[in-house]
Symmetry: C2
């Protein structure tokens, strides 16, 4: 009988001791699975953009050298984690074997085509052969095996849409799913950075959840992109503004909500110093949701105190139950959103 | 009739335009108040420790030079914000005048002795004369006036306890007040960094709120200090552990909660890399509360996703309604806590 491993995969950490797989320098990539692991026959690696760029430059843009570098990293670490950037990426593959302890607990069977939604930087991987490297989309096609831990998250790739379309949406699955769970009918919602990939999905989801009595207001720098949101009814109102200018954003935002402060503000802006623009327009007792990786913890914490705002500030968690399903559903039900995604991100 | 200013004080920002008073380089410290401002007759400035140390070193520990430097900063900026560290501090004073628009809205009258709980880095200040500088406690006694904006937070200094005791507690008022509001009867609560000033107050408050059916577990490095918490019943159980070692902390923490994951974890540790130790022991749907300024936003966000934890992660807000009252109440009702505070922090 097979052994049961730690649900977080610490049983595969070789060094340093006592850390989680993501922080480890070397993990065990023996492909004989534990009782609570999933073995995946890997089709392709989608390398994180920062990581791929670094490797490509180090290799002087030579495809063969890029391949050798990737093989070296995986042989050395047991996972595809770029030692310079620390980042990984995700993979696409077919489920080959599911450990007995998991079989009846999860909605997955051998043969299912999945994308992993945990980082390659913590995923045991063994590459037999690199088949092709598509430099324009940071994709490496391989003959390889990988292992998903019990805590590992994944999405079954839907059969009713283009794979790259699904991947583009799954890439930002956390944010719209959190919006779906948090926003209630009648809420007023301000979305900062609303014209990006994540922003559009959040706006669409917020519209669905507040309706018909709420108010969703979108803001971003780009006037034209905001027109697109308005035209497609992904928001009730929109204004162009610089999220680094809190007073201006607050004044415009309040104007668009009948002078009242908002129940919820969602930050998906990808520049720094936008914390105050997110905090100021929200009412006492309201929620400020930071999904931007450019958020500064101390600027948010000290900023809210400085203006005496009794708001709950939440760190955007990339994972919440059902996040992949909620996100893909948006593309299924909105032809407009799907068309925009196909045009911009596929 | 007097004019009404912005509740956040932007009407006093001189440069750069469009920012909040904290981010401003120069604010207007004219002591003729607006309709919604409070004029304070200042007794003493408690300079932020990082700021005082920097000024003291620049002045070669010469008291007179320290005083001159402080005068210069305030003349230049209209507020006591150290240009090197960016930080401020707080002040103690007596309310001199309250603008008409505020008079009936707030629980304050002329003659009340208060401590401001917003930073000096955003408070209009005009110093007439420095009376004394107490280098051992970073305190500057002054003849000065200051202004509190409508959004400014403050605490009336209690008459039933030593002023320095009250200040020591008010300094960390946010954390225990958030615990008071968040923790429910029956909850299991893990407190990381429990033996510090903030940690002890959080533990005491958690005990009060979970009782008698909950479980409060304290952890920190210092065995001896944990004994003090146990002896005084500020927690049900305690274990010594290094919060930078997530697997170890998780295993010990689960042991102390009957193998179950926690409803809430509170991080008041003051070292880096303790995010995962806070996230791992919490159940799906539970709350992870980061109160440490050493928290990394990205480590928290990516870390929770990496282990597939559907937890709500909250950025500790130093302000919540009634925070000063909740915190001072702890010292009133617990003789044990008061004695520890008097010994360690006064």
């Amino acid at each position: 009988m097979k052994k049961t491993g730690c649900r977080y995969g610490t049983h595969r950490v070789i060094s340093p001791e006592g850390v989680l797989p993501q922080a480890a320098l070397k993990i065990d990539n023996d492909m004989d699975i534990y009782d609570n692991e999933i073995l995946v026959d890997v089709i392709a690696l989608n390398i994180d953009s920062a990581s791929f760029t670094q490797i490509e430059e180090e290799a002087g843009h030579d495809t063969e050298k890029i391949g050798r570098k990737i093989m070296e990293i995986v042989e050395d670490r047991g996972k595809m984690q770029n030692p310079v950037t620390g980042s990984g990426g995700m993979l696409i593959g077919v489920v080959e074997e599911i450990g007995d302890a998991l079989k009846d607990k999860i909605d997955l069977k051998a043969g299912d085509r999945i994308a992993t939604l945990v980082s390659l930087s913590l995923t045991p991987l063994k590459i037999e052969k690199i088949m092709d490297i598509k430099k324009d989309i940071d994709r490496v096609e391989v003959e390889a095996k990988a292992i998903l831990f019990e805590s590992g998250i994944y999405a079954k790739l839907p059969k009713d849409m283009n794979e790259n379309l699904a991947l583009a949406a799954l890439d930002v699955a956390g944010a719209p799913a959190q919006v779906a769970k948090m926003v209630k009918p009648g809420d007023s919602v301000l979305i900062l950075g609303a014209t990006g990939k994540s922003g559009m999905m959040c706006a669409y989801e917020a519209m669905k959840r507040v309706g018909p009595t709420g108010n969703v207001v979108a803001t971003d720098l780009r006037e034209e992109a905001l027109e697109l949101l308005l035209k497609n009814r992904f928001c009730h109102k929109a204004f162009s503004g610089d999220a680094r200018k809190p007073v201006e954003v607050m004044n415009r935002a309040l104007e668009m909500n009948g002078g009242r402060e908002y129940d919820i503000a969602i930050n998906v802006v990808n520049v720094q110093n936008t914390e105050m623009s997110t905090i100021l327009p929200v009412r006492d007792g309201g929620i400020v949701y930071f999904f931007s990786m450019a958020t500064s913890f101390t600027k948010a914490a000290l900023g809210a105190e400085g203006v005496g705002k009794d708001v709950t500030m939440v760190v955007g968690n990339g994972y919440t139950k059902g996040h992949a399903e909620i996100t893909l559903q948006e593309l299924r039900e909105s032809e407009a959103l799907r068309k925009i995604f196909e045009e911009l991100y596929v």
